[in-house]
């Protein structure tokens, strides 16, 4: 059984289709990235999964349950929306203690202190949350989301509004949680670099439909156009002339002393290197290129926007 299952999910608002036949699964312990432009239907999907909205058609399950109808199952799920869910007038510790009470946590004081230490807010435990920066509130929000040790946690833009240092802290925390607590993480993010770094699987949603759903490794490798970058010790232009007409080179470009070649077959990389060495060029570095998640994302979202 998967941690999250979505089958044939559709939903419309006021006659406008927001989700159309969306299907994907998230395995236990995975960090899943859910990507898409604004208005693509990401938050609607999360709301349906959490039982806050009803599906128009199709079926959703989280840990095998329908969260809309199952209060107990909701105790096994954590969530962080764009709003952190705190009262600004209460202290960090009191806000966490409130949720600890709602989730029926044994020994809440110890757990609250443990989490405040985890997110580096121990010295602000008694300060009102209203005095916190955006980043501090976000960290506290993550602490709240995992307070009850959920099996699945839904994070909606967890890094938004954070400085690079805090973004890294959040990223490391998500990876740590997934690894140490075997927590399944459903990450809705616009930070493609962040998603590429930490997610094992991604789905790209555009125009209410899933445009791509695969592991990050497969998506970034499966370009159909294997590419190689060769760094030379000088003579880039001559090397370009030497390789551009080779039969297995489908495209070539030169940037100073760097050659960027696309190959008909990834197995042709040693042949390219041998041809360059044979022609007397000195090679400093050879690197197989793969596409970034950003390129793949823009390709799918661009297709959709171009076709819309």
């Amino acid at each position: 059984m998967n941690a999250v299952e979505v089958r044939g999910l559709s939903r419309s608002f006021n006659g406008r289709d927001i989700l159309r036949d969306v299907s994907f699964t998230v395995g236990h312990g995975e960090i899943f990235g859910y990507l898409g432009p604004n208005g693509a239907g990401k938050t609607t999907t999360i709301r349906i999964l959490l039982g806050l909205l009803a599906p128009g058609s199709g079926e959703v399950r989280v840990l095998g349950s329908d969260l809309a109808a199952d209060d107990d199952a909701r105790a096994r799920v954590g969530v962080l929306f764009e709003n952190n869910g705190f009262s600004d007038r209460m202290s960090a510790a009191d806000n966490l203690a409130y949720y600890a009470g709602l989730y029926g946590i044994d020994d809440p004081a110890e757990r609250v202190d443990e989490l405040l230490a985890l997110v580096g807010l121990t010295d602000r435990r008694d300060d009102p949350v209203g005095t916190f920066s955006t980043g501090m509130k976000r960290k506290l929000g993550i602490a709240r989301a995992i307070l009850h040790r959920p099996e699945v946690v839904f994070l909606d833009e967890p890094s938004s509004g954070l400085d690079p240092g805090a973004q890294r802290m959040v990223r490391d925390l998500i990876v740590e949680l997934s690894r140490r607590e075997e927590m399944t993480v459903f990450l809705n993010s616009h930070h493609l670099d962040e998603v590429q770094r930490i997610c094992s699987t991604v789905a790209i949603l555009a125009g209410g439909r899933i445009r791509a759903f695969d592991s990050v490794a497969n998506l970034t490798a499966a370009s159909g156009r294997p590419a190689v970058t060769v760094a030379l010790a000088g003579a880039g232009d001559r090397a370009y002339e030497a390789v551009k007409s080779l039969p297995y080179v489908t495209g070539c470009d030169v940037d100073g002393d760097r050659l960027h070649c696309t190959l008909a077959d990834p197995a042709a990389t040693p042949d390219l290197v041998a041809a360059l060495v044979g022609a007397g060029f000195r090679i400093e570095e050879v690197r197989r290129s793969s596409r970034s998640l950003e390129e793949i994302y823009l390709e799918h979202v661009g297709q959709r926007e171009g076709g819309a």
């Binding site: 909205l53 809309a68 909701r74 969530v79 962080l80 709003n83 209460m90 409130y98 989730y103």
Partner: protein, 230 residues
């Protein structure tokens, strides 16, 4: 501790930290009864029954208004800033959430209405030189009728605030509060004075309103709440 108690306790604590609501509430709880009761005392003269009835008359709308005042923080603010969405994901039923919040609103509102009653009694006793005795019916009114009406008001206003959008809430909030006050005035016109019959009728109507609030809250769905978050 039950989730009901957890939610109610938090709302009570938040109400007592809401400085602006407390100040507004205290001003209303002092100014309105003093002005009203002194007016009643001036016209009633030595008629202590009329003065005591006047005090009872004043505390009910004060309590209902306090319920409305504290609802804005417990229900509407959480909806406006979106934090209600996080609460709806907790393993707590929507009904339990509504009950806890309404009870948490009712406690400070009730305390304010008691302050209002004490201030009214003190004002009449000192300024009008008409010492008010601890009339059992007045105590019954304060102990039973007022809290039921406050709970009903907090429950109805809270359910409406959960179910409606921001613009509708602005309109309906005023409509509800004036509806309550109109109903109180109308009932006290039908059965004037402070009597067992008056208290029984007020309590029965209050309980009916509470049942109505509970019924309406049962019809509110999470989808309705989420779709009306601004």
């Amino acid at each position: 501790m039950s989730t009901f108690a957890v939610i109610a306790r938090r709302e009570i604590r938040l109400a007592f930290r809401n400085r602006s609501a407390l100040i507004a509430g205290l001003i209303f709880a002092v100014w309105f009864p003093v002005m009203t009761v002194l007016g009643i005392a001036a016209s009633a003269g030595e008629d202590m029954a009329a003065i005591t009835a006047g005090i009872a008359t004043v505390t009910l709308p004060v309590g209902v208004f306090m319920g409305y005042l504290f609802c804005a923080d417990a229900f509407l603010r959480e909806k406006r800033d979106g934090s209600i969405e996080t609460l709806l994901c907790a393993p707590v039923s929507l009904r339990r959430l509504w009950e806890g919040k309404a009870a948490g609103v009712a406690v400070p509102a009730y305390l304010m209405s008691l302050v209002s009653a004490v201030v009214a009694i003190a004002a009449v006793s000192t300024l009008a030189s008409a010492p008010v005795a601890a009339e059992p019916l007045l105590l019954l009114h304060l102990a039973a009728v007022v809290p039921v009406w406050i709970l009903a008001a907090a429950g109805l206003i809270g359910a409406a605030q959960l179910a409606l959008g921001m613009r509708e809430n602005q309109i309906l909030g005023f409509a509800l509060i004036f509806g309550f006050i109109f109903l109180i005035v109308a009932l006290q016109g039908v059965v004037p004075g402070l009597s067992l019959t008056t208290e029984a009728i007020l309590a029965a109507v209050g309980l009916a309103l509470l049942a109505l609030a509970r019924f309406i809250a049962g019809k509110v769905t999470k989808e309705r709440i989420v779709r009306t978050i601004p």
